[in-house]
Symmetry: C2
Subunit: 125 residues, 2 copies
DNA sequence: GAGCTTAACAACAACTATTGTTGTTTGACA
DNA sequence: TGTCAAACAACAATAGTTGTTGTTAAGCTC
């Protein structure tokens, strides 16, 4: 673990908003002005590979990175882009028997999509 | 509705595999050799805007387009990229009360991720 | 059917997000 | 201190998608 890796890791754990790679870069550059965006991408990919981070690809735009390493779900506001965590479990959600033999399911993601949220509504009045 | 639009629309309804824009382009070009990829993207976007199609952004790579206009869920094989439809409903899945006031939820997507599937397994032996 | 109008089109350029490449730095260790 | 490997920064390139613009073609008027 190099200084860059540690700094990126801590930046992510300090952010609860599922930042993009560029957002992480922005944050990290306040301390390490010479770090390259390439290194941030590389490190984030490594951490995802190690299972330390999750990568969220929710709709168009850049990938978001998620420091929470317990499985959880998300609520996405399509108006402002906010992504909230949802630690609730839904044990009743499973693949029907007819498909269970076809697919080796390893995880289940639930995404609630919203047309607006408290932050949006608050921002405009 | 122009000939191009009609052809793109029919190409999508003839494909059950959630094709990419490029795949649609490939298919359509067998008949209309001069159609541009730009037109395919434009038309697909228009159809999504009209609610005739859904756009799926599942993980990295190009967007996939979905002709089924009843809400449904998906099973994704991360090994081969196959995406299967799941018309089962999960009525028990909803946003917990504590967040229901914050987010104006308009839809719910469930994605089952698989590490392999019948097609993969069959293909290698 | 010629002339006007407008929407859609093809061609091409630009852009965003991400990854490939390569030479340099850094830090562990002999 | 010299050797080595891993990680890095700089830069180039790629994939996917959208912006722009001049051209074509369909619909309407007379
Ligand atoms: Mn999360
Ligand atoms: Mn589908
Ligand atoms: Zn919002
Ligand atoms: Zn498969």
């Amino acid at each position: 673990m190099t200084a860059q890796r540690e700094r990126i890791f801590s930046a992510l754990h300090g952010a609860s908003d599922h930042p993009t790679a560029e957002a992480v870069w922005s944050e990290v550059r306040t301390d390490m002005s010479s770090i390259s965006l390439r290194t941030v991408y590389q490190t984030l990919n490594d951490l995802v590979g190690m299972g330390e981070l999750a990568q969220l690809d929710i709709g168009p735009g850049p990938a978001r990175f998620d420091p929470m390493n317990v499985p959880h779900h998300h609520v996405v506001c399509d108006a402002c882009g906010r992504i909230a965590d949802l630690t609730v479990e839904f044990p009743s959600v499973g693949l029907p028997d007819e498909l269970a033999g076809d697919f080796d399911v390893v995880s289940t993601e639930i995404i609630f999509r919203a047309s607006g949220c408290g932050v949006c509504r608050g921002a405009e009045g």
